[in-house]
Symmetry: C2
Subunit: 298 residues, 2 copies
């Protein structure tokens, strides 16, 4: 056998109070139990810790030395408990995840704001990567989860759709544009348009879907970053072709999105996580917030 924290607790209590009876009260056990614990730890350590008469309890030299070590261990135990409890209740900790650049700029700000309000002490480490890199980086790094658009299944991973945005035309809130419910891709062809470049995932999906219908997108401008497209739209250079979810309303209050139809194309934003691995409580809390915040959108 070995010394136990229980014994150490009894020891420090007796040491401090200089009394087995008082220590017992403090520990919430009986005097006899405390007496036994002291005998046990003495036997365990092979050293007398208290000179006990029927009247008084006097710590020995060895006890003086042991006391500090014991206190330290008990304090460590308490710190550990508290820390773990904080982690469990997402009062502390750290959430590190991957986000595709698009998701990071358009979707995450709202999620982050809400999460921060609920869990102010949790560190957040967002690693924003190009959409193509999302899955490879997820496999390679220790990120707990990833948010972004993912096609198909990935082995060892679970994919959950958080929200899916319809491909939309985004333009300034003119009376004429605001009145529309939707636009067809054909109608779009008449106007100046701003689309993502052909080597982006969004564009590939568009080209693929239109191709199946025998159609083709010929944008006026092609850009790499979503924000660039939106900024250009805000300047009136044309309609941006993007999933509606990618429009941060607060950042571009003048812009509105109208779904594109014939064909309607939706682009999911998914949560990616490792199969069989529980998320840290902090990450769970974050994902929960993301689900509720994003679910409210189309």
């Amino acid at each position: 056998m070995n010394v136990t924290l229980r014994q150490l607790r009894a020891f420090t209590a007796v040491y401090r109070t200089r009394s087995i009876t008082r220590a017992a009260r403090e520990l919430g056990i009986t005097q006899s139990a405390t007496s036994l614990l002291i005998q046990q730890i003495e036997a365990q350590l092979g050293v007398r810790l208290f000179d006990r008469s029927t009247r008084a309890v006097q710590p020995t030299r060895a006890a003086d030395e042991a006391f500090h070590a014991a206190e330290r261990m008990l304090s460590d135990a308490q710190v550990l408990s508290r820390r773990m409890r904080d982690l469990a209740e997402a009062r502390a900790g750290r959430v590190a995840f991957l986000a595709s650049a698009g998701a990071a700029s358009a979707l995450l700000p709202r999620v982050l704001a809400k999460f921060r309000a609920a869990h102010p002490a949790i560190e957040i480490d967002i690693r924003d990567v190009a959409a193509d890199d999302l899955v490879p980086r997820m496999i390679a790094t220790d990120a707990e989860f990833a948010i972004g658009s993912v096609e198909g299944e990935i082995s060892e991973m679970t994919v959950e759709t958080l929200t899916s945005g319809r491909l939309s035309a985004i333009g300034r809130r003119t009376a004429e544009f605001a009145a529309r419910r939707s636009l067809t891709w054909d109608e779009l062809a008449q106007q100046p348009t701003i689309a993502m470049r052909s080597d982006t995932r969004i564009r590939m999906q568009i080209d693929l879907a239109l191709g199946l219908e025998g159609k083709r997108l010929t944008p006026t401008y092609e850009v790499t970053l979503i924000n660039t497209a939106l900024a250009m739209t805000a300047q009136g250079l044309g309609l941006a072709i993007l999933p509606a979810t990618m429009l941060p309303a607060d950042q571009f209050p003048t812009l509105i999105a109208k779904p594109l139809i014939r064909p309607a194309i939706t682009r999911p934003v998914s949560l990616l996580q490792r199969q069989g691995r529980t998320l840290s409580p902090a990450a769970q809390a974050f994902v929960a917030v993301a689900r509720t915040v994003l679910a409210s959108r189309t």
Copy 2:
């Protein structure tokens, strides 16, 4: 309930080996017991520490954090155990005691030499005080014991005679002196003598004992320190009147002691310790050595 060291041991073993089965082997318990310990500590801390499939065990973030704290506590426990064991077996520690100046100079060197050989790592703190101060200092300070001449009983203390030296005439090893078995106090009066000053304990005892016999000591020289008396004797200035135990043979190889009789006066050297207080193991070891070393003398 609370987290136990047992659980922490299981936790660190599983964390390191990444396997409950291997950890169980390491701990010397069964796999099922180990599995239970992990479940317990998880319940205790309120946090999942391992993602377990039927096949593998994967530590969580929380486990990474907890691991260091756990290792520290376990290492503290081990250090504490070892330290206490060392103290118990007098392989480490410290012995602080009081010694009257006479005892310190004449008796202790041999004791110290032997003790040091047997217990090289123990710190020794000798507080040599005037004979009169021995008891007051013993009461006032935290010395574990005291060595010196003590008369009568002292409350709260136990007095044990370690050795008692007969008052003797100490002189150079001349043929004539060496041949004698003893001297009477009367014979002594014919020769130059060196005695302790009247305000010393030794002298007081002598004067008292001689007074009872109607005799009186009139020394040629009176000194305060024993060593002074011996040095003077070695120079041939006269016979030193001291307890035989006070003559360190190795320091004054030319001197020998002959008991003084009519009356024979003995002066005890005692060990003084607090009643009801156990000595530290180091002190016990020291006292044991002192007893054996001093017992061999008259």
